[in-house]
Symmetry: C2
Subunit: 217 residues, 2 copies
């Protein structure tokens, strides 16, 4: 935390995992300071000694809050949910919570790690786009089917949940990797509805302290 007691978020404007946490902070109306961590510049600032001491996984996001340092976006969101429960991001009904956790993990473990920058860097450059597209579209096929059974206005019912915080940044990645979204009408509809909410707008990659001028909107 800063001297004034504000939580500090180590974030990269374009990181979808950072965006998940930024949405949670915005929804819960938590005032915080951003320390931009550029994953490209200087060979990747997450590889610096200082950053590695903070998060040995060399990944953003990292949140310093209440005297502890937390890595992994879902771990951060769960902590915020437990210590700042309003508004709720997990339904009270355990079965609905199970669906929220299932969808969140489908994205966070089943899709995003496979199209992560650090993985793509290990492939030949010409394989990057098809690899990322395959990871995303195969996950989205499953997700679209699951949403038929769980979705209301949002991923699970009519309240914004942790699953929605995972969905929107993953759709943005899909668009970046030029994945055709027409086979996924439920995903597209929910994404559009969520993007109209203020918390999703202020946390958007195009509106961060480290967003380059040419990408600002």
């Amino acid at each position: 935390m800063t001297e004034s007691g504000k939580p500090i978020l180590y974030s990269y404007f374009r990181s979808s995992c950072s965006w998940r946490v930024r949405i949670a902070l915005a929804l819960k109306n938590i005032d915080y300071e951003t320390i931009p961590t550029n994953l490209i510049k200087d060979g990747g600032q997450q590889f610096s000694k200082e950053f590695q001491a903070l998060n040995p996984m060399k990944q953003v996001p990292v949140l310093k809050i209440d005297g502890i340092t937390i890595g992994q976006s879902l771990a951060i969101i769960e902590y915020l949910e437990e210590t700042r429960p309003t508004p709720r991001l997990l339904p009270q009904d355990p079965k609905k919570r199970a669906y929220v956790h299932m969808i969140s993990n489908l994205i966070v473990s089943g899709i995003q790690p496979l199209q992560n920058l650090s993985v793509l860097k290990q492939l030949r450059q010409e394989n990057n786009l098809p690899w990322a597209q395959k990871a995303i579209s195969s996950g989205f096929q499953a997700l679209e089917q699951i949403l038929q059974g769980t979705a209301g206005k949002y991923c699970v019912g009519d309240e914004v949940t942790m699953a929605d915080l995972c969905l929107v940044p993953q759709v943005a990645n899909a668009e970046r990797f030029e994945v055709d979204l027409t086979p996924y009408p439920a995903i597209s509809r929910i994404n559009k509805t969520l993007l109209a909410l203020e918390a999703f707008q202020v946390s958007h990659p195009c509106r961060q302290p480290d967003t380059p001028p040419e990408l600002r909107a």
Copy 2:
């Protein structure tokens, strides 16, 4: 659930994600029925129409319980924790819970997906072993450092938590991929301590209904 009301676990003996859930079921003393789902045989039984209707992600584990069907190991474990809270797999202190979630997610999102069978199948065969070794050792380097601050007898303090359910199956994968574990004394010590517990033994890949005779122990 079966007609007798028992939960049904779709599992593959060797799947590390299935093993996580088997440990939770054993620790919580939940009686269940296993439906073996062979990820190799018949081109992969997870690709059958029946299985895809159950879990569109085409992955094990899947748990049918209390009238719902849950995929994603951490979602299943969280549901079991909420509905069958004894013994507890998440500490009561939110900061310790945050460490448990962080370590669990580090393994479940940061390591396992990169050395998953479905990913390795997309690489050239000669690249499989080095790719998997790199994913595991880079995650273990981070984890070893994190454990210096969180571990007691187990990953977080002196009680078995969800983090331990993720650790042991991941160490087994490391051994399968011939990762040298000597740089990870904390991981190795905690793994050994956990493997002495009955719940980790009865759920072990070498003791499942679908374990081939030559791999039984």
